[in-house]
């Protein structure tokens, strides 16, 4: 068993507001997980609870099958929540040395990790002189000091400029390739789609879905079609049971598939019916479309 984190029926109430409601999921070693949800859906609260800074109301969680106390387990975890928090008057290197002491890892890791995030040249500068992008990279270096079993990132690109966002994403991909398990909380769908293999979707503290990104909605994808004779195309498609919902979208006709149909088969079928296409695209729903569909279903 390579379970890193198990969450069972976790609930957190702030007064009358239920921020996390009966949440359960499991994190297995080696995968890249995304926690997806709009702002205020309980992502950060959930991470806060498992990271020992927010008290749960009920339910429980276990790190590494409960073999160690939470704070000892956290020494094998690397995590950044929201903004990077360091001592502003201390240099980058001094801040990381402090983290080494807390986590109980040798100080020679500092150079390696500062080089990884390209801050080695700035090691003797005070944290308060750093730009937000540099602060965020320093936070990632700090989280990696102990070569963690799992790296937890909460909105790591929040507030960064496009260049900063790109740097952080490259860094995350690089880390994922080394086999480190990653848990990434974000409200940015494309971010999760680009990086994650598994996803947990939350809304208003409730889990809507957890599992592989590509299995999120069992679907065969859809076609976007266009021809000279849109009316004929529309009626032909509606007669065939292989196609589900057929609708007009702007200039195109969108056909949702009930069974697997290749582009070649589609083209051949319509040509035999006397329809010549000027536009034919087969696509899978993007995470965004799936997400909207999923949240709409649950309302």
């Amino acid at each position: 068993m390579n379970t890193i984190l198990t969450i069972n029926n976790l609930t957190k109430k702030f007064g009358r507001l239920t921020a996390v409601n009966n949440l359960s999921f499991t994190i297995e070693k080696g995968n890249v997980y995304g926690i997806l949800g709009p702002n205020g859906s309980g992502k950060s609260t959930t991470l806060g609870i498992v990271l020992n800074v927010v008290n749960k109301t009920s339910g429980d969680f276990q790190w590494f099958n409960g073999e160690e106390s939470t704070n000892n387990a956290l020494k094998k975890v690397g995590a950044i929540i929201e903004r990077p928090n360091f001592y502003p008057y201390m240099t980058a290197a001094a801040n990381l040395n402090l983290v080494c002491k807390i986590k109980g890892v040798p100080a020679n890791k500092v150079e390696e990790k500062l080089r990884l995030v390209e801050l080695w040249d700035r090691r003797d500068d005070k944290f308060k002189t750093f730009s937000l992008g540099m602060k965020q990279r320093l936070a990632i270096a700090s989280a990696l000091l102990n070569d963690p079993e799992i790296l937890i990132l909460d909105e790591p690109t929040n507030g960064l400029d496009p260049q900063g966002i790109h740097q952080i994403r490259e860094l995350i991909k690089q880390i994922a390739q080394t086999g480190t398990t990653i848990l990434l909380a974000s409200h940015l769908l494309d971010e999760v789609e680009k990086v994650c293999s598994h996803v947990v979707i939350m809304r208003k503290g409730v889990k809507l879905y957890s599992g592989r990104v590509d299995e999120m909605i069992a679907s065969f994808g859809f076609f976007e079609l266009k021809s000279e004779n849109q009316e004929l195309l529309l009626t032909t498609l509606k007669e065939n049971p292989a196609f589900g919902n057929v609708s007009h979208q702007n200039d195109y006709i969108k056909v949702i598939l009930n069974e697997d149909v290749t582009a070649t088969e589609m083209n051949k079928f319509l040509f035999e019916k006397g329809i010549i296409l000027s536009h034919l695209v087969k696509r899978k729903e993007s995470l965004e479309e799936q997400f909207l569909q999923l949240t709409a279903n649950q309302q």
Partner: protein, 278 residues
Amino acid sequence: MKRLLQIEFIKLWNSRSSKILIGAYFVLLCLITLIAAIKFDIGSIHFNLAEQGIFNFPYIWHLNTFIAAFLKIFLAVVIVSMMSNEYSNKTIKQNLIDGLSKKEFVLSKFLTVVVFSVISTIFIAVVTLILGLIYSDFKTFSIITTDIDYLFAYFIKLVGFFSFCLFLGVLIKRSAFALGFLILWQIIEGITYGVLKKYVFTEGNTTDYIMDLFPLNSMSNLLKEPVSKFGAVKAVANQVGETFTKDYGTHWYEYFIVIVWTLIFVYGSLALLKKRDL
């Protein structure tokens, strides 16, 4: 334990303002020796404080610890801010995420407070010993070691006071407000005394007994003012017909009250930390 002290040492030593205040505190402790230099002339009377016997053993133990205790406010600023800055920088959150337990966090601060108090006590012991050996009229071993328990009272007083500062740092989370509250608390104790004395327990010593239980009052009871004990002052008082019958010693229950407060402050800080969401 060594690890927890190292963690706190890194945090303090890299902060310039803490370093300056800590340095200033220990320099000022040494400057107590300057009392010896107080000299003035009133007409034909030549007065030198050092020659008036204030540096005699065992009196000097009481005098020096009493004066040195006033300087603790410098370290109080450092201690309040080392706690409240963890909140304003949100570094307490990151410390916990990095794997420090809440208990270890409070313990690292408390151990630092104890170390400060130990160093301060050693400092004042050395300064006093040197001053005494230079100016005291009595230098036998038995007289030198008499009343040396004032050093212990000084130590307990510092630990108690600094624990109070830690607790205020956790409770209020802003250093300026926490220090303000410390002053406010001193005033509250004063007002409570006045009200109790005037309206509640108008007769007897009940008010004094109750006030002995208050944190700041109990700490000041550990080192009572030594001035009226001083021979020269007594002589003047006798001339104007006043006699002091005051108990200058420190009693076991006075230590006990302060130690109980220290425990309340340390465990109170931990309880607050455990209860709060960060």
